[in-house]
């Protein structure tokens, strides 16, 4: 008897149900009133009493299995049916594209710098791109006719022979905003100044006639080179990783004395090289005097760096002009 039940179980399992017809055939074969499952139960009478419990249990299992096989097949066929209804009901089809906004790579680099400076307690300041000679040069200790002016080829907006009328220029650096800050606020001052600057230089993959700088200024009583160094190192570590290798060396800027430049080691231990990333120094007493700050009372540091330069380094961009072409195929790499 038990063997018959086993055989039926096997038969139920092997019955092929691939469509509605076969499903109906299955029902008729096994689950209908005269189907094989009912017929099986009819044989119960022939089973000796002592075996009835065991056989009954086995028969029940077969029944449950047949029913569940039927239900599963029915559900599965129903699902297949609905899929077949429409070619568009296919989760693997391509979706419509969704417009993604993106910040320009220069903004992204700038934002990263800003976030570091925010953590160091700096605020942010800005100023005009058209400046007068006083703010762009003289107040920053570039005397008229000084060779240092040659290093910053200048676009002029207004030129006057009348000494009372200031020349107007496109600012060659963000440093004039230092003067504006000192003119308008009492120390302590702690701010960064991002912005667009202009140099009248021939265009090449390495240089463009406009670019962006970030300037940092900290003025208080007793600010020292040691403090500057601490800030520079913190910045370099946060910007380039805590294992960044750096060095400081003397530099020259008219508006700082002493002046320092920072290099970081770029590339592998063997193949790499020192790359200048920023210029810095202690605010020159002449700058303090021009802006009405007492150099005996206050000291301060300032530093500046090029946003393009850092972005080029980080992303391995080989032509600075790419930044201003606005090719979507370039921009979308910075999503």
């Amino acid at each position: 008897m038990l063997d018959d039940i086993k055989a039926l179980e096997q038969e139920i399992q092997n019955f092929e149900i691939k469509n509605e017809d076969q499903l109906e055939a299955f029902r008729l074969e096994f689950l209908s009133r005269n189907g094989k499952v009912q017929s099986m139960f009819k044989n119960m009478g022939k089973v000796p009493k002592k075996d009835r419990a065991e056989v009954g249990k086995a028969m029940n299992q077969v029944k449950v299995m047949a029913e569940s096989r039927f239900e599963d097949a029915k559900t599965s066929l129903a699902q297949n049916d609905s899929k077949d209804l429409s070619a568009k009901n296919d989760i693997t089809l391509t979706p419509p594209s969704y417009p993604l906004g993106s910040l320009h790579p220069l903004t992204q680099t700038l934002e990263e710098m800003k976030s570091i400076f925010y953590r160091l307690g700096f605020t942010i300041a800005d100023g005009p791109e058209i400046e007068d000679d006083f703010h762009n040069f003289t107040a920053l200790n570039f005397p008229p006719n000084h060779p240092a002016r040659d290093e910053q080829d200048t676009f002029f907006i207004r030129k006057s022979d009348d000494p009372k009328v200031q020349d107007l220029v496109l600012r060659t650096h963000t440093s004039p905003v230092q003067i504006r800050l000192m003119e308008n606020t009492e120390p302590p001052i702690r701010a960064i100044i991002p912005g667009r600057v202009y140099r009248n230089e021939a265009v090449s993959p390495k240089s463009y006639f406009l670019f962006h700088q970030v300037e940092a200024l900290y003025i208080d009583e007793n600010v020292s080179v040691a403090d500057l160094k601490e800030t520079l190192i913190t910045f370099a570590k946060l910007m380039f990783g805590t294992d960044v290798k750096y060095r400081l060396r003397p530099g020259f800027f008219p508006f700082t004395e002493p002046s320092l430049e920072m290099d970081i080691w770029w590339g592998s231990e063997k193949e790499g090289k020192w790359l200048e990333i920023l210029g810095s120094g202690m605010v020159d007493p002449n700058v303090f005097k021009s802006a009405g700050v007492d150099p005996e009372k206050y000291t301060g540091f300032a530093w500046g760096m090029g946003v393009e330069r850092i972005a080029i380094l980080r992303h391995g961009i080989d032509d600075i002009r790419t930044f201003y072409e606005n090719d979507v195929r370039f921009l979308e790499q910075f999503n």
Binding site: T107, T123, P285, N326, V328
Partner: protein, 802 residues
């Protein structure tokens, strides 16, 4: 400036390799840009004898040579046609390095090779390949009497050096010569500086062979003249030629070479005149109040503006002072008597002339930075001495010294407290003395608190106490200054409203799926003229070129250009934003009178919103896509309830805060698009962030309002109006009449057709009313609707649609 490592070693016993020297120079502020090998000792290049020359079996142009190297015989493949058996030739053996630069900057190293199947162990060299000349016509054939195996270095006078290229900062005129660089190194390394011995002449004011006059003592502080008689002009000896060639100076003749040599040695530019050509035996240093035309050594006739300083003889100008000499007084092969000029010219005057002539010479470079005003007689004596050595002749005993404007030394006091306060160090005055030792500052007095120094004349940059502190810092090495590691917390400065607004604008644009672009602020006049009257715009007076001459009056050009750029590269559509400064003339001005400089934001859409896909048909952007973005920005900025908009024409919608225009949304005309070479639909909105900031300063911050407890009451109605009436005008009236309970207003249908009459249109409005304290019902809303409809009927001949 190119500095020779060998030359430096004449002044100081350098214990450092060229690379270490370069590193040290960089760390003390003389930044090394690159170091380069000059010449070669040609180690491994020896005399070989060609025994046999065979044709290369696999290459027409090559030959296979058997070469005797003395200790061994070897096979070398050679391409030169002149190679022949029996020749003695220079052979670069395997492992030797030739002075030939490869692409990666390294020198060619000879390796064992197989050339087209034939083994080649070494290279038979041409003259240029050994750096012995410029000839590359064929291999170099040597004297047949030379012994095979002799190193080439024993046959030729070879010169090897490392050239260190330093970027001299404008504050360091003292470092524009070898002695100056050596002085800095000696100070940093605590080594003795060995100066050349110079015998000084008898200083006189005049002499019978020349009269020197300085007419403008402001521009020429000092003029020293010195004669060498009976010289023989010829090629300089090897040591002099090599030294000059190594630093990139072309040897000319023995006299000119010496003047150059002394300039690179001591820093004093010198000029050698042919004494016989000096008319009237008189030198006058003067400027003119008229323009002068003058032909310089480089055979260019130059127009020099009034005030240019000249060296004149009895009849007229013979040199532009401090910049370049003239053709007529140049030293020639026939020159016998030399007059040396060693002068100090005012830096500003030289700079002005050099700039005007766009002519920077080694001399003008030094004069405009400010040379040592005490050096002129010394340098003249040194040069005269060297000329006598290399060109023969007799140095006159007198050194004529005209010195109307004297610069003395000055004293500077350095306070220990200021040094330590500025550097963050803890130096004693003794420690400071030690650090500065070697700079040739003279200590006048010293106590525990301060040191007073006399500053030598060759350091014009050391004017103030702080300048000396820089010397302390750079010689001590900034890397060694201890970082304080102070401050666990900093007291942060607050971020100002302007920055917050700018961040919000950018972030909103980002959320709205716009891509940021950066475009040029300097655009061409032609492009600028598309956006208004050039009279109202601001040009650069000295633009780089025509394409970048005018400051952008708005951000529109940048968008149109970028859209066009991308359409030309097969982009289907663009959605861009930009934030940037724009410039216009304006009487009042923003920062400066006459110039309005504002920050604007631009949103721009162009081309396809999406292309064909299985789920959607292709669709172009519409003006309403952009309008939705602009409204979203106003919403984010808490301005949406405070602004109004007005269509100034069918293509332009202006946004206002009260009477203040914040900006516009517009549809570029077809003509404008055509000038950028595209036809796709485009829509731009440009708002003044500066004006928005002004508005936000006044508009109160949004207060929290409880979420409504009662549902809104919705009421729909449609009206028929003449087609000329705009939706905006209707909504302004509806808003005005609806009162406080109006929560929102929407247009859900726009219809035109014969059924409502020619020239008419129907607009269907959906209004939502809300009362925070109760549920509104029709009884309460109906009177409001009646009020609205009445007004619309009156103002626009509107009819309620049944």
């Amino acid at each position: 400036m190119k500095v020779s490592y060998n030359w430096l070693k004449e002044f100081i016993d350098l214990p450092l390799s060229p690379e270490e020297t370069a590193e040290k120079l960089t760390l003390i502020g003389l930044e090394v840009e690159e170091t380069e090998e000059f010449g070669s000792s040609l180690k491994g290049v020896i005399v070989g004898e060609v025994l046999e020359v065979r044709e290369h079996p696999n290459a027409d142009r090559l030959q296979v040579c058997d070469v005797d190297l003395g200790n061994s015989k070897t096979q070398i493949v050679c391409g030169a046609k002149n190679v022949a058996a029996g020749q003695k030739v220079p052979v670069a053996t395997v492992g030797s390095i030739l002075p030939i630069k490869l692409d990666d900057g390294s020198n060619l190293k000879i390796k064992k090779a197989k050339l087209r199947g034939e083994v080649s162990e070494g290279m038979i060299c041409a003259e240029d390949e050994l750096g012995l000349g410029t000839d590359h016509a064929g291999i170099m054939v040597l004297d047949e009497n030379l012994e095979v195996g002799t190193p080439i270095s024993e046959i030729f006078d070879l010169y090897e050096d490392t050239i260190i290229d330093i970027a001299i900062t404008p504050n360091r005129p003292d470092a524009t010569c070898h002695l100056g660089v050596a002085r800095d190194l000696s100070a940093a390394l605590n080594l003795e500086l060995k100066k050349p011995e110079i015998k000084s002449g008898k200083v006189v004011k005049d002499s019978d062979y020349i009269t020197i006059k300085i007419e403008n003592a402001k521009k020429c502080h000092r003029y020293v003249g010195k004669m060498v008689r009976g010289v023989e002009i010829k090629e300089s000896p090897g040591w002099l030629r090599n030294k000059l060639k190594a630093i990139g100076v072309r040897p000319v003749n023995n006299v000119v070479d010496v003047t150059n040599y002394v300039m690179y040695e001591l820093g004093q530019p010198l000029h050698a005149f042919d004494h016989n050509t000096i008319r009237g035996k008189e030198i006058v240093v003067k400027d003119f109040d008229k323009e002068i035309e003058f032909e310089t050594l480089d055979h260019i006739k130059r127009k020099c503006s009034p005030g240019t300083l000249f060296i004149c003889d009895g009849e007229g100008p013979v040199a532009i002072a401090g910049v370049m000499g003239g053709v007529d007084s140049e030293v020639s092969d026939n020159t016998a008597n030399i007059l040396l000029e060693s002068a100090y010219f005012d830096p500003g005057s030289i700079r002005k002339t050099a700039k005007e002539q766009t002519l920077q010479t080694d001399a003008s470079y030094r004069f405009e930075r400010g040379i040592d005003p005490d050096l002129q007689a010394v340098a003249a004596d040194r040069a005269a001495q060297l000329i006598a050595e290399v060109a023969g002749g007799e140095v006159t005993d007198e050194t004529i010294n005209i010195h109307p404007t004297k610069t003395g030394t000055h004293q500077l006091t350095l306070r220990k407290s200021y040094v330590n306060r500025l550097l963050g160090t803890d130096f004693t005055t003794d420690a400071i003395s030690n650090i500065l030792d070697g700079l040739e500052l003279t200590e006048v007095s010293k106590d525990e608190d301060s040191i007073t120094f006399e500053v030598p004349t060759f350091r014009p940059d050391l004017e103030r106490e702080v300048d000396l502190i820089e010397e302390v810092g750079r010689l001590f090495d900034y890397n060694k200054i201890p970082s304080p590691g102070h401050g666990i917390f900093v007291s942060s400065e607050p971020i100002n409203d302007w920055e917050k607004l700018n961040q919000k604008v950018r972030n909103t644009a980002l959320q709205l799926g716009l891509r940021e672009i950066y475009s040029n602020s300097l655009i061409s006049e032609k492009d600028a003229a598309l956006y208004g009257d050039l009279e109202n715009m601001i040009p650069a007076l000295n633009p780089l070129n025509k394409d970048n001459s005018t400051l952008r009056p708005s951000l529109l050009h940048g968008f149109m250009k970028s859209a066009s750029y991308n359409f030309n590269r097969k982009a289907s559509g663009v959605r861009f934003f930009e934030v940037g400064h724009v410039f216009n003339k304006d009487e009042e001005g923003t920062y400066y009178k006459g110039i309005k400089e504002e920050v604007h934001v631009l949103f721009g859409l162009a081309g396809m919103k999406h292309t064909d896909s299985w789920s959607k048909e292709a669709e172009s952007y519409s003006v309403f896509d952009l309008k939705a973005l602009v409204n979203a920005l106003f919403t984010k900025l808490n301005l949406i309830d405070h602004i109004s908009s007005k269509a100034s024409d069918a293509e332009t919608l202006d946004y206002y805060w009260g009477d203040v225009k914040l900006g516009s949304l517009s549809i570029p005309a077809n003509d404008l698009k055509k000038s950028y070479g595209f036809e796709q639909d485009a829509f731009v909105a440009e708002l003044s962030v500066s004006a928005i900031a002004e508005a936000l300063r006044v508009i109160p911050e949004r207060k929290f309002k409880a979420v409504p407890k009662f549902p809104a009451f919705e009421f729909d109605f449609a009206i028929i109006v003449p087609q000329v009436v705009t939706a905006g005008a209707l909504m302004n009236v509806i808003k005005d009449k609806a009162g406080d309970q109006l929560e929102s207003i929407d247009i859900f249908d726009v219809f035109e057709g014969k059924s409502i009459g020619e020239g008419n249109k129907s607009l269907a409005f959906r209004l939502q009313f809300l009362d925070p304290n109760k549920t509104l019902n029709i009884k309460e809303v109906e009177p409001i609707i009646q009020r609205i409809v009445k007004s619309l009927e009156k103002d626009f001949s509107a009819k309620l649609r049944g």
